[in-house]
């Protein structure tokens, strides 16, 4: 499992990394924690001629609030996100989901930016970030732009990132009204396992807390990329919590239909589709009950 030779350069700053990336072109690969990249280099799936390391860039390792939004640096490690007091209070769905990634060893090295840019259809951080309406700040040498996470993926392992661009930070607008969320992951073992299917469900109430102002549902591992399912969200949006409870089956059925899972060595497509239906029931019930009983944040 020897890794093919490559050139390595440790970036002293994001700015210098962007300059270097522009010069190096498409043969260069950016490394953050490397828990996916090094593995893929060992397996000869990715063979870069040059690796630009962001691993020691402290400037992209942070969680902070600014006005009504949370900003997470792309190099923030899963273990730090899972344990962050601010995120645990306001966005527990994200902390719970990244706490399910790999093992403690992986979570101490792997970063949220790496998990997103690696673009696995089954990335555990993505469905929760999608239902939270996450926006990505992508930097290049000349400009910075904001991209919605919903439109970031173009296929398995593929994103809309262009040569010379680096994911800099993730922005999440804090829910204004009472909200609750739930992420369920199907796995065969309790640790070190890729998700066979993942369902994230998030709901926010109206100002008077009587109706659901916003419902967001995202699925992982059951399509070429993680996906939102607006058709299923629309069924519950605008309803009272009690009305929504009675419509969960319709919502789950439509979400399962929207999935396009594949058969592979880990699970069959029909099993994955069934799990979407089951997990949607479970997550929606949990979230709606929480909102009904005055829970959530």
């Amino acid at each position: 499992m020897r890794i093919r030779s490559f050139d390595y350069w440790e970036a002293p700053s994001l700015d210098k990394a962007l300059t270097e990336l522009e010069i190096s072109g498409s043969d260069a690969k950016v490394i953050a924690g490397g828990t996916d990249l090094v593995l893929n280099m060992k397996k000869k799936k990715i063979l870069p001629s040059r690796v630009i390391s962001l691993h020691n860039l402290k400037e992209l390792d942070f969680v902070r609030t600014q006005d009504s939004e949370v900003r997470i640096g792309a190099l923030t490690r899963h273990a730090d996100i899972a344990a962050d007091p601010l995120l645990k209070t306001h966005l527990p769905i994200l902390c719970e989901a990244v706490g399910l990634i790999g093992s403690w060893q992986i979570r101490n090295v792997g970063t949220i930016g790496g998990n997103i840019c690696n673009a696995s259809p089954a990335a555990d951080s993505v469905p929760p970030l999608m239902v939270l309406g996450a926006q990505l700040i992508v930097a290049s040498k000349t400009a910075e732009k904001k991209i919605s996470l919903d439109s970031f993926f173009s296929g398995p392992g593929e994103t809309v990132l262009e040569t010379g661009q680096i994911l800099k930070e993730i922005i999440i607008e804090l829910p204004k009204q009472r909200s609750a969320g739930c992420y369920l992951k199907l796995r065969r073992r309790k640790a070190v396992d890729i998700s066979l299917a993942g369902v994230a469900f998030q709901a926010e109430t109206t100002t008077d807390e009587r109706r659901l102002a916003r419902v967001a549902i995202a699925l992982g591992g059951v399509a070429p990329t993680p996906i939102r399912v607006p058709q299923a969200e629309a069924i519950l949006t605008g309803l009272s919590v009690d009305e929504a409870m009675t419509k969960i089956s319709d919502c789950a059925r439509i979400a399962a239909q929207a999935a396009s899972p594949i058969d592979d060595v880990r699970a069959s497509a029909s099993y994955r589709r069934t799990i979407v239906d089951v997990f949607l029931h479970q997550s929606a019930q949990k979230v709606l009950r929480k909102l009904k009983n005055g829970g959530g944040s």
Binding site: S5, Y8, E10, I31, V38, K42, S53, H55, V109
Partner: protein, 166 residues
């Protein structure tokens, strides 16, 4: 191409020139002779190569040696001083070591847990070592060895009751 790195391993400073395609595990074992860290799957699944990077457990098989630049590393060789660490004594006493291949990684994960949370419950112990596979013991003895090093247990082995050697 070689990359200069400066690392502190078990308290000792090293200035090394490493090829970028080498992982930290191989540099520790082959260049520094620290063969206590084991090479199992090489794919970040088994945890045998677990070391502490700035006090936190990581897979040394998945970290490029160049990525460890300016970091502090603890291997199993750095866990014990004159006497075995209380965790090591507890592993011996509880029969948590059979073939021994997973032990250095297990001890490192357990040490990081106890450093961060001196009194973990059983669930927290199991979560901390979830990334370390053991094919001999069935884990019960390992969990019980770690438990015996926590203050809330009444079942502490002799070595763990004494002064910690840190």
């Amino acid at each position: 191409m070689r990359v200069p790195i400066h690392i502190i391993v078990n308290g000792e400073e090293y200035h090394l020139e490493v090829k970028p395609n080498r992982v930290l595990l191989d540099v520790l074992r082959e260049d520094l002779g620290l063969i206590g860290t084991k090479k199992g799957c090489g794919l970040g699944k088994c945890g045998a190569c677990t070391i502490l990077l700035d006090g936190r457990p990581i897979h040394s098989c998945l970290l490029l040696a160049a990525q460890a630049n300016r970091r502090e590393i603890t291997t199993i060789e750095g866990i014990a001083a004159e006497e075995p660490h209380p965790l090591q004594a507890a592993f011996v006493e509880k029969g948590a070591v059979q073939c021994g291949f997973c032990t250095p990684g297990m001890i490192n994960a357990a040490k990081a847990l106890l450093d961060a949370n001196p009194d973990p419950d059983e669930a927290e112990i199991k979560l901390a070592i979830a990334g370390n596979l053991c094919r001999c013991t069935g884990y019960n003895q390992i969990v019980s060895a770690i438990q015996s090093c926590t203050p809330s247990t009444s079942d502490r082995p002799a070595a763990a009751r004494g002064e910690s050697n840190e």
